[in-house]
Symmetry: C2
Subunit: 182 residues, 2 copies
């Protein structure tokens, strides 16, 4: 597994009780991220790590967010794969610690780019294909072909919205440099 030795271990005393504003923010992030087709708890784990600006152990995450051992393991695996959470080793400690790496928007962008975008592209291709078949069929009225064309507008609008999301998220590069400061 990747992960680098000892990132500075948290702000020493991790106060383990969630303040009110913290859980509010954590849940909010979970909700937006769910909107984009990710798991709510993926967003929550990331948000916890990001807000604390500290490296936490799996056990801590488990306790703070009331998740199961196995669940935390899988959630972290996903976040690591997307590059938004980093696994670090702390010297006098047998266990891994995790910290938020980049902005969550980057993860959303990356995944939407490769997964949703091509999903919509596929749909558009299907509609285009259907139209071609219809055009070749003499029994199909020109009006119907026109309607097929209009249907593509739904897919196009969707694609456009995704595009804006991606573009917007790309503007937020702030997160990229933070890791060098801490």
């Amino acid at each position: 597994m990747k992960g680098y030795l000892w990132a500075p271990s948290a702000a020493t005393s991790v106060k383990t009780a969630q303040s009110n504003w913290e859980s509010m923010a954590i849940d909010a992030v979970g909700n937006v991220i769910e909107f984009w087709g990710f798991k709510r708890n993926q967003g929550r784990v990331w948000a916890l790590l990001y807000l604390r600006d500290a490296s936490l152990t799996a056990a801590e995450i488990e306790k703070e967010l009331e998740l199961s051992k196995g669940g935390v393991s899988m959630l972290i695996r996903d976040l690591e794969r997307w590059g938004v959470v980093l696994r670090v080793r702390v010297p006098g400690d047998g266990s891994w610690r995790y910290r938020a790496e980049t902005d969550l928007l980057q993860m959303a962008r990356r995944v939407i780019e490769e997964r949703e975008f091509s999903f919509i592209a596929r749909i558009r291709a299907d509609l285009a294909e259907a139209r071609k078949l219809a055009e070749a069929d003499a029994r199909v009225l020109p009006e119907q072909v026109e309607r097929l064309r209009k249907m593509e507008a739904v897919a196009e609008a969707t694609e456009k919205a995704l595009g804006v999301f991606l573009k917007t998220s790309r503007l937020d590069v702030g997160g990229m440099f933070e890791r060098f400061r801490a």
Copy 2:
């Protein structure tokens, strides 16, 4: 129930077998619409009616799309409520017929406007609230407040994408006038 008397009853002979291109297009529409959080079959029913440009009975829809009686009833109710399907009565026929009314984009727009938009707005409000609470708390570091602010970017990007979708869909007014031609 609403619905108006005898819209011209279909193109006489409704060829009851789906051509290949037709089911392809129907499924494609079902898929995009599902992306926006509607039911796949809501999209499919609308697409069938729209493509045929004819008024079909519930029984016909049931057969064409392989849905259950009860299912068709409920799907149509939804589509009617959203104003994208119209219920019409044909003189020599004891049953209702249904036809596609406006562009599906309008339905998506309407529902997203009232449901998704406020959902995201609520999330943004939560984040703003969390930040306010954090700012009032002396123990919270300014850095953390800054991170809370950054989190709002995720919600903002989402809101922006929805906005674009809404704007785009509003441009397509073509559907509005068609009903007067048929």
